[in-house]
């Protein structure tokens, strides 16, 4: 039987990872990720989790340990945040290329400088092109469910890619909410043991990521691209398979919220989605035709699913908790690139919202909706992203 408890978000993730029984866990502490790996270390020390917990001197080594463990045929897990994720970057690109399906939690935190511990999505968005599947969650319950799905997605024989589950630091990891956990039997039935075709074996030596030149490198990259595209269907299937077990349907690649007949649709991911839903309910009760598309899966980019849900929309307001400095927010760029050249598509306005923990509350969301409605009337795109809640007067 499943159990419902009031849990800290980090504890919920640790319980999900515990239920998936990774044989190897390796991590280096960094806020706000630390509580997750502390909880896992405690489980291992107390004999509640039969894993090798490898303490390392840096995130680079943590990623290297799980990469090697995964090549050896072990289910493996790590977690990090911010600068730690950046330090892992080189290993993560290689891991995706070597098709090593470990799972990691990216607890979102802004990138230095200036140094900060506050939340935004710059860290995981910076890993956008690495070949990791990137999933974003709205709540601790979704984080619990998503981690269990993540191992199954990663280990699909036709996917075989690392999966990065992204959750907002502090807002989710350090707050308490009701979380229902599955029983071990339920998880075991859902998630079969990891049995890769190739694994490191002293009796049958193999090399991973062997040298490739101009005659095949492109095909290796295309193979990862194909696996990513294929994963879209599997992520949707695995999400609904899990939903039938849990009774909780968080959506597939996206969740469309009140998008039917919506003229303004907000596109967002992470914990801000909960606030947006509440704001939309209020605006709807005042007769405003507003909806939301929550991105659950950012890589692969769920363009087809988005397209199906924006038929009536005049404006799409994208909330980007990141900025590709010198251009605009990454999610906005993705959507614009995919819509470009199609007839009758809505106007897309990119809003930079929530950098470095800047609060995105109901008032700010109303401001975004009003700005989107105003721009929708003119029909003209903005030359630059709209920075929500910015105080330009203090900028030198």
């Amino acid at each position: 039987m499943d159990t419902t408890e009031v849990l800290e978000g980090s504890e919920a993730v640790a319980l999900a990872v515990q239920a998936c029984c990774p044989q190897v866990i390796s991590a280096y502490p960094i806020s706000p990720q630390t509580h997750i790996v502390e909880a896992l270390a405690r489980m291992v020390a107390n004999g509640d989790l039969n894993s090798q917990y490898v303490r390392v001197e840096s995130e680079f080594s943590a990623a290297s340990v799980v990469s090697g463990a995964s090549a050896a045929g072990s289910r493996a897990y790590t977690a990090s945040s911010s600068q730690g994720l950046l330090l892992m970057t080189e290993v993560l690109y290689a891991s995706a290329g070597m098709r090593l399906p470990f799972v990691m939690t990216g607890v979102n935190r802004a990138i230095s400088a200036p140094i900060t511990i506050q939340v935004d999505h710059q860290d995981t968005i910076s890993l956008r092109d690495a070949g990791l599947i990137q999933l974003y969650v709205e709540s601790s319950q979704e984080a619990y469910d998503m981690h269990i799905a993540a191992f199954k997605i990663a280990e699909d024989p036709r996917i075989m890619l690392p999966v990065l589950v992204c959750m907002d630091g502090w807002i989710l990891t350090h707050s308490y909410e009701r979380v229902s956990c599955l029983s071990q039997e339920q998880v075991d039935r859902f998630l079969p043991p990891f049995q890769p075709e190739n694994f490191l074996d002293v009796n049958d030596p193999k090399s991973w990521g062997s040298y490739a030149e101009e005659d095949v490198l492109m095909e290796f990259k295309y193979a990862v691209q194909k696996a990513m595209q294929y994963s879209k269907g599997r992520i949707t299937e695995i999400s609904s398979e899990l939903a039938t077990i849990t009774g909780r349907d968080h959506g597939g690649l996206i969740e469309a919220y009140r998008t039917t007949d919506a003229e303004v649709i907000l596109l967002a991911m992470g914990s801000v989605v909960g606030t947006i839903k509440e704001t939309i309910d209020k605006l709807r009760s005042q007769g405003e035709r507003v909806g939301l598309i929550k991105i659950r899966c950012y890589r692969p980019f769920p363009f087809e699913d988005i397209l199906k849900n924006i038929k009536e929309a005049k404006v799409i307001a994208v909330l980007d908790a990141n900025v590709s400095v010198g251009s605009e927010g990454a999610v906005g760029m993705d959507l614009k690139a995919k819509l470009c050249g199609r007839p009758g598509v809505p106007l897309v306005i990119d809003f930079i919202a929530g950098l470095g923990g800047r609060e995105v509350n109901e008032d700010r969301i109303v401001e975004i909706v009003e700005k989107a409605q105003e721009l929708g009337k003119s029909g003209l795109p903005l030359d630059e992203s709209y920075w929500v809640g910015l105080n330009p007067e203090i900028v030198p």
């Binding site: 190739n198 030596p205 090399s207």
Partner: protein, 85 residues
């Protein structure tokens, strides 16, 4: 040839990749000057110098022409000459 997932290959297959094609300078060993000290064999980063019955031979399939052997040879028995293809 179909590529493998993750560029996984059986052990020892790097031998099939003849890195000697990268060479633009070729080491030539003069056995009359060679003192058989083995320095060239020890310093070769590609393990491309082999000794058999005190005769040293350079394996041009894998020698990249870095010139370390010629630089280190105490008897000046190895000369680097331009590679011709």
């Amino acid at each position: 040839m179909r590529i493998s997932m993750g560029a996984v290959v059986p052990g020892g297959t790097s031998l099939e990749y003849k890195t000697g094609s990268w060479r633009d300078q070729q080491p030539v060993l003069n056995m009359e000057l060679c003192k058989k000290c083995g320095m060239c064999e020890s310093v070769c980063p590609d393990s491309a110098v082999h000794e058999k019955s005190e005769i040293y031979r350079i394996d041009y399939d894998y020698c990249k022409g870095c010139g370390l052997c010629a630089y280190e040879c105490p008897a000046n028995a190895i000369q680097m000459i331009p590679e011709e293809k």
